[in-house]
Amino acid sequence: MTAGQRLARAVRGAPHALVLLLLVAFSLVPFVWMLTASLEPPIALFTSTPHLLPHPVTLSNYAGLVHPREQGVFFPRYFLNSLIVSFSTVALALLVAVPAAYAFSRFSFAGRNPLMYTILLGSIFPGVNFLVPLFILMNAVHLLDTYGSLILGYLTFSLPLNIWLLRGFFDGIPPEMEVAARLDGASVWRAFAEVALPAAVPGLVATAIYTFILAWDEYLYALAMISSADMRTLPLGLYAYFNEGSIDWGGLTATAIGMSIPVVIVFLVLQRYFISALTKGALKY
């Protein structure tokens, strides 16, 4: 390739690159701003010249993440609460959704489709509709203000979509694979566990991430269920930075950054499964 050709190619690609750059900026700038705000004293936020780089730099905003911030506000505890609730929700969601989705995909039984639609019905209504009924229900079974109320509540929100999503993944796996396993001497259960399940891993990962973020970010439902300070999840905890008449932007952004870290880690750990979902499998469709 001559220099001229290379230049011509770069020029032709320029509009493309520009659009991409704008999109990247659009999604990244708010995040950078949040990072900046978390790294400078609150007073620096209100200078007349907007700036993207923190000046002066301080880590004091992050102190609230490890030390008790004020009476009854302790973020390490909120972190723990959020982690327990989110991971439990993910584990239970997979435990229920995987067999359910597999059954919907592979077995034909009376009322299969009506049942699937009934399950999906739950996702049609806005979540707020379920707030009061679930509150009454949780009260009746004495689960208010416990992890259980949050986990069960999040499961009702996520399971319909989990099952539907996973069913799609199982539908995409040719049944011949399990038939082959059956003829090779495997039981129905073994064929599912050794053959169908590994092939559905990208689907499991997508489902897990969706459920994790749903539980990790949820605010309104947690606000209704949780009353004691010890049981707060992170989104509830963030509210401690909103005081009458003033907002602690430094603490708020620092905590928000801290709250993003587990999500980033989850993505980093699981992203290769996303990629493997995109690469060609062993089967011809």
């Binding site: 040719p174 011949e176 694979m177 038939v179 082959a180 396993a181 059956r182 003829l183 090779d184 001497g185 495997a186 039981s187 073994r190 050794e194 053959v195 590994p198 092939a199 891993v201 690469t279 060609k280 499998g281 062993a282 089967l283 011809k284 469709y285």
Partner: protein
């Protein structure tokens, strides 16, 4: 290893529109025999295979394997192995993991599994890729792994459902040879399902031709080709389909004559006209049993005039597609290598001794005296 026997096996799928997938079938497959079920898609061949493998129960009938009634036996207890059109390899397992899976399911100890996988890999030329995942293999290699996984535990019966359909033409020929070689090496009773008549002819000890859920003929490749028992078999088997045309059959001075709808005599088969029910039949003649000449013909037989509409050049041979003046289309195999220009006026004549007659209603063959086929066929 064992012989396989089907007794009045049929399948109906009930429902508002009941579907008869398979009319009652009787079939006996000897120990070590290679039998192909041949037919177009939707003819019931896969249904038959699934009944044999135990994936679906038959509506009626009994399946016997080695003298044992296995009609409702669970698939995994039948000791059958299957190769699928899409290979159905386990994508998360390596070549080794795939091939040892059936052994593992049967509790074969680790050392022996390793030994047998290595042996099988060698037989199939997969030695260097034993630790690769299926997606890292080519189509032909994936097919080999599928064969290896099926053969490794020496099943009593080996089932193959269109195993070569996903390969390109060249690889298909190669794998065809491979399957033949493997069957010679491991003479397991084999049921092979295909819609490709060339595959069936090349591989089988016997062929079961099916159409619309009915077995129309069972025979050796040679019988199927030379003595088609049904007009469907005549049209389905053969590189280029047999020419088929409706005729009326009558006695004439020179013997029995087959007359085309336009009144022209097309052939004089050695059959008494009285043997042809209703006096009408379907006349069949393979492209290699049609002579042709430019112009109006030499007057030695009932020559039919027509025009060359198209030609297919297949190397040495050329197929001429000729439209007769009476409207019928006739395919002619030209072995002179000369070919013919499109639009050429030609005359064709059928080999009297090589024509077939079929009942027009039932499609069944009408017995015709025929001299032995020349070796060139």
């Amino acid at each position: 290893m064992a012989d396989l026997r089907l007794e009045r096996v049929s399948k109906r799928f009930p429902g508002r529109h009941e579907v008869v997938a398979l009319e009652p079938v009787d079939l006996a497959v000897a120990d070590g025999e290679f039998v192909t079920i041949l037919g177009p898609s939707g003819c019931g061949k896969t249904t038959l295979l699934n009944i044999i493998s135990g994936l679906i129960p038959p509506t009626t009938g009994t399946v016997w394997l080695g003298g044992r009634d296995i009609t409702i036996l669970d698939p995994r207890d039948r000791d059958m192995a299957m190769v699928f059109q899409n290979y159905a390899l386990y994508p998360s397992k390596t070549v080794r993991g795939n091939m040892e899976f059936p052994l593992r399911m049967r509790g074969v100890p680790r050392e022996e599994r390793g030994r047998r996988v290595n042996e099988m890999a060698e037989v199939l030329g997969l030695t260097g890729m034993i630790d690769r995942l299926p997606r890292q293999l080519s189509g032909g290699q994936q097919q080999r792994v599928a064969l290896g996984r099926a053969l490794i535990r020496r099943p009593q019966t080996f089932l193959m459902d269109e195993p070569l359909s996903n390969l390109d033409a060249k690889l298909r020929m190669q794998m065809r040879g491979e399957i033949k070689r493997l069957h010679r090496q491991f003479p397991v009773t084999t049921i092979y399902v295909t819609h490709d008549q060339a595959e069936a002819m090349a591989l089988s000890d016997r062929i079961v031709v099916m159409n619309r859920g009915v077995v129309v003929q069972v025979g050796t490749p040679s019988e199927i080709y030379r003595q088609p028992a049904h007009v469907f078999v005549a049209g389905f088997v053969g590189t280029m389909a047999m020419n088929l045309m409706p005729v009326t059959v009558r006695e004439a001075a020179a013997g029995t004559e087959c007359v085309l709808p336009d009144g022209q005599a097309a052939a004089r088969p050695r059959v008494r006209a009285a043997a042809v029910e209703g006096g009408t039949a379907t006349l069949g003649v393979r492209p290699q049993h049609v002579r042709w000449a430019p112009g109006p013909g030499d007057g030695t037989g009932p020559w039919l005039e027509g025009v060359v509409e198209d030609t297919d050049i297949m190397g040495e041979d050329t197929y001429l597609f000729i439209r007769l003046n009476g409207g019928a289309a006739v395919t002619v195999l030209d072995r002179t290598g000369a070919g013919a220009p499109l639009g050429l006026r030609v005359a064709v004549a059928f080999d009297h001794d090589a024509v077939h007659l079929f009942n027009e209603e039932t499609g069944q063959a009408i017995p015709v005296d025929r001299k032995p086929e020349p070796a060139r066929a």
